[in-house]
Symmetry: C2
Subunit: 370 residues, 2 copies
C-alpha cells in the first residue's frame, strides 16, 4: 500500500519519500492533528497554504461523533473533511487512557464511557481496526496499551506483552481486507531492555511502518530525548518510523537527528489558542503588554499569511479581545512554523548539515524574541 | 472627500458608484461588521473572497479596546486590521444605548461605564468625531440619540431635536480638520412627521451622505419596511443613503427598492455562529438531524469556499462538535450570500427588473430549503 525510500542519511537522521494512496509525503514530516475531523480553527485551504502534506485523525473522537459508519457513508474521512492528501488515524487507545471515563482494560480490549455523553463503548484491537478502516486513512495504527511515565516496571512489562498480543490481533483483522497500511507500535517506557525486546517483537510482525508510543506521557524532555535516541534506531531501517504525540520544536529537531520520520502533536494548534506563538527566536506570548504597539510580524522570517499580513499589535488585540480570528491566525502561523522547521531539517539532511542546522535553531530558540 | 454617482434608477431603487479614499463601492452595498477590528471569525482574505467592498468598524468597541490612540499610532484602522478597502465607522452611540452600563445622557453627551471593565467614559459629539478621526475611516457618522421602538412621542421629539444639535456640533468639530466624509443621521422612529422634519433639518446641514437611524430597534419588520419606504426617499437624492443596522435578506431586498444604498448588520455573521445558514431557498438550521448525511452543499447555487468544498453533513458535524472551523465556514457562506444578493439587486436595477428580482428572491426564501 505504501512505498518508502530513504534518499539521504546524515548520521542517524534520514530524508525520505513516503508514497501513499493519497499522495507523496516528504520525510521527516510533521502531521497537524485533525481531532474531530478538522484541525482546530484551520480549514484545508490553510493547510495547503502552510504546506501540510498529511494530517492525523483521532479515532476516539470520530468514533464518538459523528461515528465511523457515517463517515464511511460520506465517502470516508478524506471526502468528509475535504482533505485530498494523506491521512493517518490513530487507534483511539491513547484517548481512551487520557479522556474517557470509567475505563476497564481487559485482555479483550477497553470498555469505557464517552466523555461527551456517557455512552458506553468497547474498543478492542479488532474494533479499532474496523473503525479505522471505515474512516479510510492511508495509514492506520495498531491498538496498544500506553502506560503513564510513572508506571511500574511490572506495568510496562504487562503493557508490552499485551500490546504485542493486540498487534497480532490487529494484523489478523486487517489482513481480512487489507486497506491502508497498518503500523505497529513499540511500548516499553524508559526501560531500555523492554524497548529492545518489544521493538524486536513488533519488527517480527512485519508491519509496513513502525511507531514509538509511550513517549511524551509525563517524563522530562531530556528523558524522552534519550529514550528516542535509543529506541528510534531500533525500528526497522527500511520502513517509516513514527514518534507518536511529539512534540515541541526542540523535540522535533532532536528526534529527527535520531532517525524519526513522522511526528504528530496538538501542541502547535493548542498553544496557539492560548496565545503562544513559535518564532525562530523562541516562544512569544502575544498577550504581553510589550507587544501592544509592536508593528512587526510575529516572526519576521515567516512567510505565512499571518506574518505577511498582520502586526504583533493586531494579533495581541485579537487575542485579548478573544476574537475568533485570533484562533485561526495564531494556529496558521504555528503550523507554518512547524512546516518550515521540517523543511529546514529535510534540506539540512540532504546537505549533511542536520546537526549544525538543529544546533543553530535550538540556540536561536533559547535567545527569546525581542 | 467622496464622489457618488447614481448610474441607474428603477422605481425608487438606485444603482450607484461611491468613490472613497480607499476605493470604489458599488451601491446598493452591504457592509460586514468588523466589531472590534475584525469581522468575527473572518480575515481580510475571506472578505476579499466573498467580494466585500467596505466594512464597518464599531467606535464603541474600538474606543474601549484597544483605544483610538493606539489604532492611530498603528497607522489607522485600515492598516491595523489589514483591510485596504473602504471603512465606515459608526459613532458609538448605538452601543452606548444597547451595551454600556450606568449610562447618563445629557445635552453634553453620554457618560457610561464600559461593559468590559467598568471604566468610565464620556462620549460627546466632539469626542465621537475625534475618536473616529483617529480610527481614520473613509466615512464617519454623527453622534446621535437613538430611542427604542417603544419610546413615546415626546421622547422621539426630544431625540430628534438633540440629534440635530449634536449633528451641528459634530459638523463643527469635523470642520476643524475635515478628514473622511461625515454623514448625518435622521431619527424620528415611526412618526412620519418627525422623520420629515428631521430629514429636512439634517439635509440642511449638507453632509456628504445621510443615514436613517432608529430602525430595526424593536418594531415589527412590516413597520420598518413602511417606515423606510417613507423615510428613504426623504434623504437627499444626489447623496448616498445608508440604513443603519439593517438587516435580514428580506429587509435588504425591500429597502433597496425604496432607495437605500448602504446597509450594515451583524446578522449574517452572528446567526452563522448559531448554525443558521442563508440559502436561496431560505433559512437552513445546520444542526437539524435531517442534514446528518446530506452530501449537498449548504446552497447549491453558491460559489463560496464553504459551498464549493464542504457538505451539509460535514458542516453539521463541525457545528455540533462546536469546532472553531464551523464559525468561519458558516460566516463565510452567509457573507457570500449577502454579497450575492446585493450583486443580484444591482444587476436587476441596471436592467429595470429590481421588483421582479426581489419578488422572486422573496418567494424562493419562503419555500424553505429541502
Amino acid at each position: 500500500m505504501l512505498s518508502f525510500a530513504v534518499t539521504h542519511t546524515d548520521g542517524a537522521a534520514r530524508r525520505g519519500i513516503l508514497t501513499l494512496p493519497h499522495g507523496r509525503v516528504d520525510t521527516p514530516q510533521f502531521m497537524p492533528v485533525g481531532t474531530a475531523g478538522s484541525v482546530r480553527a484551520i480549514a484545508p485551504d490553510d493547510l495547503e497554504r502552510v504546506g501540510a502534506q498529511m494530517v492525523l485523525g483521532n479515532t476516539y473522537h470520530l468514533l464518538l461523533r459523528p461515528g465511523p459508519e457515517l463517515v464511511a457513508e460520506m465517502g470516508g474521512l478524506h471526502r468528509f473533511m475535504s482533505w485530498p492528501r494523506p491521512i493517518l488515524t490513530d487507534s483511539g487507545g491513547f484517548q481512551v487512557y487520557s479522556l474517557a471515563e470509567q475505563r476497564k482494560i481487559s485482555e479483550e480490549g477497553a470498555l469505557f464511557r464517552s466523555h461527551l455523553d456517557g455512552s458506553q463503548h468497547l474498543l478492542t484491537p479488532e474494533r479499532a481496526v474496523e473503525v479505522q478502516q471505515k474512516l479510510g486513512p492511508d495509514i492506520l495504527m495498531c491498538f496498544d496499551e500506553c502506560p503513564p511515565a510513572n508506571a511500574s516496571r511490572a506495568e510496562h512489562e504487562e503493557a508490552v506483552a499485551r500490546t504485542t498480543r493486540w498487534a497480532m490481533r490487529c494484523h489478523a483483522e486487517w489482513k481480512k481486507d487489507p486497506k491502508g497500511s497498518l503500523f505497529g507500535i513499540v511500548q516499553g517506557g524508559l526501560q531500555r531492555d523492554l524497548r529492545e525486546r518489544h521493538a524486536a517483537e513488533i519488527a517480527a510482525l512485519e508491519f509496513e511502518g513502525n511507531a514509538l508510543g509511550g513517549f511524551s506521557v509525563g517524563e522530562h524532555p531530556e528523558q524522552m530525548w534519550d529514550g528516542v535516541a535509543h529506541a528510534g534506531p531500533l525500528l526497522p531501517r527500511g520502513k517509516p518510523r513514527y514518534l507518536m504525540g511529539v512534540g515541541t520544536p526542540e523535540d522535533l529537531l532532536r528526534c529527527v537527528l535520531n532517525g524519526i520520520d513522522l511526528f504528530d502533536c496538538v501542541l502547535p494548534t493548542r498553544v496557539a489558542r492560548n496565545g503562544l506563538l513559535f518564532t525562530r527566536q523562541g516562544r512569544l506570548q502575544i498577550k504581553a503588554a510589550r507587544y501592544a504597539k509592536d508593528q512587526r510580524p510575529a516572526d519576521a522570517e515567516c512567510r505565512c499569511y499571518t506574518c505577511t499580513t498582520f502586526t504583533r499589535a493586531y494579533l495581541r488585540h485579537l487575542f485579548n479581545a478573544q476574537e475568533l480570528l485570533a484562533f485561526r491566525l495564531n494556529s496558521l502561523h504555528n503550523l507554518a512554523f512547524y512546516m518550515d522547521l521540517m523543511t529546514g531539517m529535510r534540506a539540512a539532511i540532504e546537505t549533511g548539515t542536520a546537526q549544525t542546522y538543529a544546533d543553530a535553531a535550538l540556540e536561536a530558540f533559547r535567545r527569546g524574541p525581542d
